[in-house]
Symmetry: C2
Subunit: 290 residues, 2 copies
C-alpha cells in the first residue's frame, strides 16, 4: 500500500501536510510518499523528530495556488504537486492520492489523468456530516441548476437497490433520516461552509454567554467534558477527507484548512478506500441498476 | 395605521396567526385586519379572552396551500386570503400586509397587484440573521445561476453609496463582518434552512452530552441562564418577518412555522417599515446610484 500525499496543498502547506503524514506513517501499514518542493518538505521534516522509514519524498517543482482557475492551472503547471501526485496513481506508483489543495484542480487532474469509471459521466465528492443519528454522506456534483435537480430525481426514482426518499430540505440534513444526500457542488459547498461558520459562531456565542457571571462560569467548568465530547463529535478533522467518487483510482480531498490530524485521517480514509476496493462496489452498483 | 394579516397562512393557521395578531394588537398603535375564512377565524378568536377593539376580520373564501404552485394558485384562487390581503394594500385599505403563507404565492401576488418600484426589476426577500457582531441582513433574489452572480458583482462594484466588499463564503456569514449579504433565493433558502436544522441538531447534541453524568447535569443546570440567553438571541421568531423589498407597498413574509410570537414580531416589522417609509429610502438610493 502506497499513498501519495500532495505536500503543497492546503492553507498551511507543507507544514501541516508533513505533520499529518508523519502522524499517519506511525499508524498505517504502508508507505507514504510526499509530493512537492523537496527543499521545503525536507526543511519541515528536519524540524520533526523520529522520521519513520515508511515516508519518502518525490520532488514536484510547481504549486497550484488555492485560488487558481482549476482547468487552466492543471493544464499549464504540468509539474505541479497535484498533477505529479495524481499521476503516481495513474502510473501505479501509488494506490491512492490525498490532497488538501485547490479542490477544483484536484477534481480536474483526477478526471484528466485517472479517467472516469465506465457508466459515470462526471465524478462527485462525498463528504461525511455528523447528524443526530450518526453520519450522513453528502454527494456533490458540478452545478447544473434546478432542471438538473429534477432530472436527477427521475433517475434516482428509477434506480434499483436504493431506498430513495425524495427531496429533502436543508433543515432535514442534520436530523439524520437519510444516509446519503445528493446535491450539486455549489450547493454542497454552501451547506458545508455555512455549517462550519454557524458551528463556530455558535461556539463563540455560547462561550460569551457562559462568561456572563460566576454561576454560569462554574456551570461551564462542570459541563466542560460534555462540550469537549460534542466538539470531537462534530469536528470534521475527525472524519478525514472526502472521497472523489467516480474516477478510476482512489483520490481523497481534504479541507484546505486541515489540521495535521485531519490530514492523518484523510490518509486513513485513503487506506480504507483501497482496502475496501470502493471502485469495485461502485461498478457493481452501476451494473446492478441497469 | 392598518395592517392586513393573512390569517390562513402558515403551518398552523389560523390558530397561530390569530394568537399572534392578538399579541400584536395589544402592543401596536393601529388596527389589525385578519383576512381569511371568517368562521374559522372567529372560532379561534372565541377561544381567546379579551379581544382588543383594534382587531377585525375580513372574509376570504379560498386558501393557497403551502405547497401549491405559486403563479398558478395566485391567478386561479382570486378570493384566496393571500390575494385579498395583498389587494387591501393596493386599494389603500391597509398600509402593510403580513403573511406566513406560501412564500412564492406571496411574492407573486405582491408583484402582480402592488407592482414593482420604478428602477427595480424583481423583488427580493430580506432576512435578518444573528451574527457574532449583531444582525446581518441576507437579501435573496430569484435563482439565476452562477453567471447571474458575476453580473451582480459588477453592478454592486459600480454602485455608489455602499461599501461593497466582494464575495463572501458561507463560513463568513455568521462572523458578522458584512451588514448585508446578497444571494439568489434558492441559495438563501438553503442557508436559512441548513442554519435552522444545524442549530436544532446542535441543541439536541449538546443536550445529550450534558445528560452524560451528574456532574455535567449540574453544570447544565448552572449554565441554564446562558443557554436561555443564547436561545433568545438566535431565535428567528424574535426578529419577526422578512420584508419583501422592491414592491410598491409594505409586505412582510413570515416563516411558515412561525409561533404566535413570530407573527407578533412580523406585524411589528410591518409597522416599523410603514413608520420608517422604507420604500422612500429605496427609491432615494436607486436614484443616488444613477
Amino acid at each position: 500500500m502506497r499513498i501519495a500525499v500532495d505536500a503543497m496543498g492546503g492553507d498551511k502547506a507543507p507544514e501541516v501536510t508533513v505533520k499529518g503524514a508523519l502522524l499517519a506513517a506511525a499508524e498505517i501499514n504502508g508507505e507514504i510518499i510526499l509530493i512537492g518542493q523537496k527543499d521545503a518538505i525536507e526543511r519541515e521534516m528536519a524540524s520533526q523528530k523520529n522520521i519513520p522509514s515508511n515516508i519518502s519524498v518525490i520532488h514536484a517543482d510547481e504549486i497550484i495556488a488555492m485560488d487558481e482557475a482549476p482547468a487552466v492551472s492543471v493544464r499549464r503547471k504540468k509539474d505541479s504537486s497535484i498533477n505529479v501526485a495524481v499521476k503516481m496513481v495513474k502510473d501505479k506508483k501509488a494506490d491512492a492520492v490525498v490532497s488538501a489543495g485547490n479542490t477544483g484542480a484536484v477534481v480536474c487532474a483526477a478526471s484528466l489523468f485517472l479517467k472516469i469509471l465506465p457508466g459515470i459521466e462526471r465524478p462527485g465528492i462525498s463528504v461525511f456530516l455528523p447528524t443526530l443519528k450518526g453520519i450522513t454522506n453528502i454527494g456533490e456534483e458540478e452545478t447544473k441548476g434546478p432542471e438538473f435537480v429534477k432530472e436527477t430525481f427521475k433517475l434516482l426514482e428509477q434506480q434499483k437497490g436504493i431506498n430513495f426518499i425524495g427531496n429533502v430540505e436543508g433543515r432535514d440534513i442534520y436530523v439524520g433520516d437519510c444516509d446519503v444526500i445528493v446535491c450539486d457542488g455549489f450547493l454542497g459547498n454552501v451547506v458545508l461552509k455555512v455549517s462550519e461558520g454557524l458551528a463556530e459562531a455558535f461556539k463563540e456565542m455560547l462561550r460569551r454567554k457562559l462568561s456572563t457571571n460566576i454561576i454560569t462560569k462554574i456551570g461551564a467548568f462542570l459541563s466542560a467534558p460534555a462540550f469537549r465530547a460534542l466538539k470531537k463529535e462534530i469536528d470534521y478533522s475527525e472524519y478525514g477527507g472526502a472521497p472523489l467518487l467516480g474516477i478510476d483510482g482512489i483520490c481523497i480531498i481534504a479541507h484546505g484548512g486541515s489540521s495535521p490530524n485531519a490530514i492523518k485521517n484523510a490518509i486513513r480514509v485513503a487506506q480504507e478506500s483501497v482496502v475496501q476496493d470502493v471502485n469495485k462496489h461502485i461498478i457493481e452498483v452501476i451494473n446492478f441498476g441497469k
